[in-house]
Symmetry: C2
Subunit: 349 residues, 2 copies
C-alpha cells in the first residue's frame, strides 16, 4: 500500500484511526511471555508470574521537550521509549511492556509517524519490551507523546528513592553533562542554519554529545551488572533532571544528607572541551544539565569491594545525617549547599 514512494504523501484521514494503529504497529511482535494480549482489544492482558509490577509514565510535548528542527523523528521515538525504561531500571526492575499514545496535528503525514514508530520499534526490540497498547489521535498543534512503561521484579530486589543510610556510598553510572552539551551544540547549529541555510554543520567532533542528547540509552547494562555483582542498592534514581536535583530527591526521601565531591563527578573529555568552548562551568553542567539517564544509587560501604575499579561506576560521595544537609565539596574544599536547578517544564515557558 505504501510502496510507491513517488505517490503523494498519505494523510492520516485516509487511513483512519484503527487502520493507523494497525499499520504503525505491524512490525511489533511480542517478546515477553507475560504478554498474553497486546494491541487490538479494549485493554492489553498481561501475566506476571510473581513479584511486583512497576508502572511509570511520561508525556513529551513538541516545543517543550523536543524541537523537531533538530530532532529526527526516529530518534524521538527511540528516546521516548528509553526515558521511560530508565524509570523502571531506576527501581531495579526489568521493563516488560509499554503503551504509547500519540496526538499529532494534520501537518504530519503517515510517513512521519512511520519514522517515529521505527524508533519506537527499534528501542522495544533492543530492550526486549512489548508495545501492548496505545492511542493515536489528532492534536490542534504539534506532536504529543505519552508513554507508560511497565516492569517487574522480585519484591526484595525493588529499590526505592528512599532507603539511603548514613555512611552509604553515593554511586553514579557513566558520565554526566553530555546530553546537555549536545543540546547546546544542536541549538547553535540551528541558529547558524537560520542565518545561512547553505551551511553544512560538522557535528563530527561533537558526535558523543549529540548522541547523548538525541539517542540516549537506559542503563539496562547497569541493572544487569548490579545483579551479576550481587550489589543491592539501598536507594536509586535515574538522572533525568540533573545530578543536584536527583541527589536532593534521594536525600529528602531517605531523610539523610550527603557530601558530593566535585572532583569525583565523572565527565567525558568531550564534555569538558565543549564546556570550554561554550564558556560553561562543567561541574554546573553535570549538576544541573539533565537528560543523561544515568543511574544514581547508594550502597552500604561493605558492598564497595564488589564495585571497586569498575569502569562503569564512580563513587561520587557519601551519605550523612539529615541535619548536615546536602553539600557539594568543591575542588578547593569549600562546602556548598546543593540546590535543585534542574529542568522545570513550567519555568522554561
Amino acid at each position: 500500500m505504501f510502496e510507491n514512494k513517488d505517490s503523494e504523501r498519505t494523510t492520516l484521514e485516509q487511513l483512519g484511526e484503527f487502520g493507523l494503529i494497525d499499520h504503525l504497529t505491524r512490525n511489533l511482535k511480542p517478546l515477553q511471555q507475560g504478554t498474553i494480549k497486546g494491541i487490538g482489544d479494549d485493554a492489553a492482558i498481561l501475566q506476571f508470574k510473581k513479584g511486583q509490577v512497576g508502572v511509570s509514565t511520561d508525556m513529551l510535548v513538541e516545543g517543550v521537550h523536543f524541537d523537531l528542527g533538530y530532532t529526527p523523528l526516529k530518534h524521538l521515538g527511540y528516546k521516548a521509549v528509553v526515558v521511560n525504561l530508565s524509570d523502571i531500571y531506576a527501581m531495579n526492575m526489568q521493563p516488560t511492556q509499554l503503551t504509547i499514545s500519540l496526538a499529532v496535528s494534520n501537518r504530519f503525514p503517515l510517513e512521519a509517524l512511520e519514522e517515529l514508530y521505527e524508533g519506537i520499534t527499534l528501542a522495544s526490540q533492543i530492550y526486549g519490551v512489548d508495545v501492548v497498547g496505545g492511542d493515536t489521535t489528532s492534536s490542534n498543534k504539534g506532536l504529543i507523546i505519552s508513554v507508560t512503561a511497565i516492569g517487574q521484579g522480585e519484591k526484595e530486589n525493588v529499590v526505592y528513592r528512599k532507603g539511603a543510610k548514613e555512611n552509604d556510598l553515593l554511586v553514579l553510572s557513566g558520565d554526566l553533562g553530555g546530553a546537555y552539551m549536545g543540546l547546546q551544540v544542536l541549538k547553535r547549529e540551528q541558529e547558524v542554519f537560520k542565518v545561512n541555510p547553505q551551511h553544512q554543520p560538522d557535528l563530527e567532533p561533537y558526535s558523543y554529545l549529540v548522541e547523548r542528547q538525541l539517542k540516549p540509552e537506559a542503563r539496562k547494562d547497569i541493572f544487569e551488572l548490579l545483579a551479576a555483582l550481587d550489589v543491592h542498592p539501598t536507594s536509586m534514581i535515574d538522572i533525568s533532571d540533573g545530578l543536584s536535583s536527583e541527589i536532593l530527591h534521594l536525600c529528602k526521601s531517605g531523610n539523610v544528607g550527603c557530601n558530593v565531591y566535585e572532583e569525583k563527578i565523572p565527565l567525558d573529555p568531550t564534555v569538558i572541551s565543549a564546556c570550554e568552548e561554550f564558556k560553561l562551568d562543567s561541574s554546573l553542567v553535570a549538576l544541573s544539565g539533565g537528560e543523561d539517564y544515568e543511574l544514581l544509587f547508594t550502597i552500604d560501604q561493605k558492598e564497595f569491594p564488589k564495585i571497586k575499579g569498575n569502569p562503569n561506576l564512580t563513587v561520587v560521595g557519601h551519605i550523612t545525617d539529615q541535619a548536615s544537609g546536602a553539600h557539594l565539596i568543591s575542588r578547593n574544599g569549600s562546602s556548598i549547599p546543593l540546590t535543585a536547578q534542574g529542568w522545570n517544564a513550567f519555568g522554561q515557558q
Copy 2:
C-alpha cells in the same frame, strides 16, 4: 498556601513541576491493597496476588475530544477516568490503578487544574481505584490528558473481543444515544450563547442527555451483576464509538456475523424526543453516536435464563456465521449491512 481566595490566581510556574504534582494529588489516598507505592518515586509499585493484569490507555485532546466552552473541568476529569475504567470493565476485569498525565498551556491557572483533579479524585474514589502516577507538563496549546488504567482478574474470567460463537445472543447494557444527543444540546446552547450571551439556557428537559455526555459512568454495576448472575460472556466490548462500530469489532475479532434488530435497540424516551426535535433518526444516533460507555457482550443461549427480564440488559440480536455478514434487521424487516460510522478522531478535523 492557597486559602486566600481573593489573592491573584496562582500560576503554574510559581509552584513548579514537583510542587504541582504533590499539590494536586494531596487528596488521593490509596484504596487498593495492591498499591505498594503510588506517586513519588521513579515508578509506582503494584502487587497482583494472582490472575492477569489489564492495561488500557487513552489520550484526550482539547478541541478534538472535548470543548471547554461547555465542559466543566471537574466533569472532564471525571470523564477522563471513567472512559478508561470502562475499557477495563469491558475485559470483565476489576480496575485497580490509574496514571494521569497532563499537558497544560499557561492560560490554565492552578485553580483550573485543581478543578480537573477534583473530578479525577471523585471518580477514583467512587470506582475504588488508585491514582499511582503521572506527569504534569506544559503544552503550547490547550489541555491534553493521557490516562492509563490498570485492572486485574482471574484468567478464566477475562473476556476478549473475540470469542462470540454462532447462535450466541448479543446483549447490551443500559440505553444508547443519550451522550450523542447531549452533545447536540450543548452545542446548540453554545451557538445561542455566542449570539446572545445574556441567554439563560434551560437544560432541565435535557438533564439525562447532558449528564450522559458530560458525566458518563462506567458499568461497574454490570461487571458486578454478571459475576453475581454467574454469567460468562463469550466476548465483550464497551460502546465508545457507537453500536455499529463495536458490533463490527466483535464480529471481525470472532470471525462471525450477526443480526441486530432495530426494534430491540434500547432508547431512553428523552433520546427519542430529542431526536424528533433535532430531526435525527434515533436508530442511526444509537448505531453511530458513541460515548455511551455501555457494555456490549455475547452469551451462550443457555445463559439466557440468567439475564431474562433484567431491566439493565437487553438482547438486541444474535450471532450468525461469518459468511452471512453483520446486518441490522430494520423495523420493516429489511436486512441492512452494518457499517462503522462511529467517531473518527482524524476524520473530524
